[in-house]
């Protein structure tokens, strides 16, 4: 009997140590990985840690970063959003069409374009809560629909905007930094505030962490979830108008795949796929990290194709780590 008891105690101690390690790695893994990669790249390339490259890095990350910020709210609330790529493409089309086709002006058309994203987000939210469709399937379905709508309104063609003024948002700068970077950080700041300092943010964590307990505490879980999808749609809309403003052309499938970059950034940051946990700063860091891998491959001149293999492996590793940490804690 005593032997068994001792063995159990020893086992428990060992488990405790492992659990702490895993939990710490999981919680701060993105910081460690980010810093490690940052230092490595700074040492191995004399171009990496320069003001110009840093600015460029942030500029390139901004659209994915904005979508990842919105998606983080959805993830924490227990949802999943696959439709952000399609939404951002459609928002870009609308901004370009409104700008060329009406007299609303530059900012008016950009804002309307972004609001189209919000509208699609609301549609997702209603489909998932009132329609009771699984979030994965619902946003897959809406992304097919939105891509279809994009083809219908453009007849499958490129929409070009000839006025150079249109690039103000995408390419304009202040203090040498491109506007999209300000938009990204501003949006992240607002969402971070919402999440950590408001009642709504608490409800998001509660809805994703334990929907039944949240409901029995008086939280309107469906409303909260629907709002997270609205914010994600808005984020996709903003990213879409930024992208279209950078290149002056819009196409229904221009941003295909950006949703996966955003999801990868969120997960690498350490926000859980299972809901109830996570933070905005994590996804900001995750997006940076992802972009840095690509940036590093370019600077070091190694086989650029290999970066996808590396990104995929890192993603799989991060999710596996999350699962192990959760299991130990359970």
């Amino acid at each position: 009997m005593t032997a068994t008891t001792e063995a159990t105690a020893g086992g428990a101690a060992a488990r405790f140590v492992r659990r702490v390690d895993l939990a710490v790695i999981r919680d701060y893994g993105v910081v460690v990985a980010f810093v490690a990669l940052f230092i490595t790249l700074s040492l191995s390339s004399n171009v990496f840690f320069t003001w110009g490259n840093m600015k460029n890095l942030a500029f390139q990350t901004a659209p994915v970063g904005i979508i990842a910020v919105g998606g983080t709210l959805v993830f924490i609330g227990g949802g999943f959003d696959l439709s952000v790529g399609a939404i951002s493409g459609f928002a870009g089309i609308m901004a370009a069409k409104i700008f060329t086709g009406t007299g609303i002006g530059l900012w008016g058309s950009l804002i309307l374009g972004a609001l189209v994203g919000l509208g699609f987000g609301l549609g997702n939210g209603l489909l998932i809560t009132l329609g009771r469709v699984n979030a994965f399937i619902a946003t897959l379905a809406t992304s097919i629909i939105i891509n279809g709508l994009g083809q219908v309104v453009t007849s499958g063609n490129l929409v070009s905007v000839s006025a150079d003024r249109f690039t103000t948002l995408g390419l304009g700068t202040a203090w040498g930094i491109n506007y999209p970077v300000f938009v990204w950080f501003g949006f992240a700041g607002i969402c971070g505030f919402l999440l950590s300092r408001t009642a709504f943010g608490r409800y998001v964590y509660a809805a994703g962490g334990n929907a039944e307990a949240a409901r029995l505490s008086g939280v309107r879980v469906n409303v909260v979830r629907a709002v997270t999808f609205c914010i994600s749609g808005l984020a996709a809309g903003i990213a879409g108008v930024i992208l279209v403003s950078e290149v002056q052309t819009a196409q229904w499938n221009a941003n295909t795949g950006i949703e996966f970059d955003a999801i990868t950034a969120i997960v690498l940051g350490g926000t859980s796929l299972l809901g109830g946990e996570g933070a905005i700063w994590r996804s900001v860091l995750g997006a940076f990290f992802l972009q840095m891998i690509g940036n590093g491959f370019n600077l070091l001149g190694t086989t650029p194709e290999l970066q996808y293999v590396i990104k995929g492996l890192i993603l799989a590793g991060a999710v596996s780590l999350d699962a192990w940490a959760r299991r130990r804690r359970a």
Binding site: A199, F200, R215, S217, R220
Partner: protein, 502 residues
Amino acid sequence: MTDVLLQLKNITKEFGGNRVLKDVSLSLRRGTIHAIVGENGAGKSTLGKILAGVHRPDEGELWVEGRRVGYRSPRDALRDGITIITQEPTLVPHRSVQENVFLAVEQGTAGVLDARRTARRFAALVEATGIELPGRRLARTLRVADQQKVEILRAIARDAKLFVMDEPTSALTTDEATRLFELIRRLRDRGATVVYVSHFLPEVLSLADAVTVLRDGRLVRTAPTQEETPERLVSAMLGRSLDLAFPVKVPAPADAPVVLSVRGLSRPPAVQDVSFDLRAGEIVGLAGLIGSGRSEVARTIFGADRAAAGVIELDGRPISPRSPRAAIRSGIAMLPEDRKRQGLLMLRSVVDNVTLPHLDQVSAAGVLSTRAERRRTSELIARLDVRTRSNGALVNTLSGGNQQKVLFAKWLFRRPRVFIADEPTRGVDVGAKRAIYELIESLAAEGLAVLLISSEHEEVLGLAHRILVMRGGRIVAEFDEQTMSEDAVLHAAFATAGERVA
């Protein structure tokens, strides 16, 4: 002693510091039906699960046919021919009956199944056992009674010698139960051994060869069924030896105003035509067996489930809570029965949990005042004596008793008019129990109307000023201070009058 199939020696089992079984020793004779009876929480289901390898005992030994065994999983136990059939059948719903029966013991050629051979095997099994089942029907289309039969067939297909049945009739009609009993007798006559866990005493007496009574995790006695009567069994289950002192009851004055009035509340099948009043300062206990509809009454009043019929009045005004949110706003609080699944956000802090239903009181224009949250939480935590490092600690780092106190703090943040406590001391150690009893008593003394639901009858007896006993979704008995006794409550709850004698 060759006829002893299985022996338990000094089995002890704890769950999170709670001793569910204490030093239980038992012999099961081959070819008999052995019943295990006891109150809710007496440990009978745990005992059944230990036999079948679902749980491992903390101490003690398990001997099967003279061999000591240490099962790590139901799979291990199955290798010795031991199988468990639970209240909820565990079938693969979208596959056919015969596929379910032969699941993981398929006979095929190089992994390729021959449908005709499977059908022949199934027919042979049906003939040998006399259990009639449509082999090609999908499992999910069967009624619960038939699903149980599939489980039994599945066990026989694996050459099971010992069948542990945990409350097998709880979801069956009287007719189906009768047929199940015939089947159980037939299993015994084929030489199988059946462990029958139940709290339906008439069933047990008509079916079993021997009866073991558990009380508070201890074995009271094992005796041949002929020596037992319902009265003897109930009195053996009574008088749990808990060293619990209850606070002195301070009954509400007779003219205290009625706070909550429920008339004809129904949500079939769990709640049928329930009516009662709750006065200010009164603790009313809702007693009954698990599944008698107690929690469902609470959930319906709280708006967590929608009522099909009935009127609920709060302070004389009719309310129709469509959601917990509406119920909370009108002044009803409910401590749910399962604190991990329904009560707490285990991965959030004490503060986050306590303030969740009341964020409007600690925020301005939706922006939280962290300072106000912490201050109010600290006050409550101090009052309820929650032992925690800080109120920013994650709830899952606290002990069960402290988690439960956090739940109380959550519902006392905004003073409710009606406080419903569903299993307020489940999974809580004795010290914390005592503190929770005093808390409940003090809430009533402050004028709250308290509805107390507990599976531990002595808890209801020790705290409640009035007791309503539920059975089959209805209130079947009411006792006041003068008439309440454990004996009376248990008899009402168990229906010893015998409604389901086979």
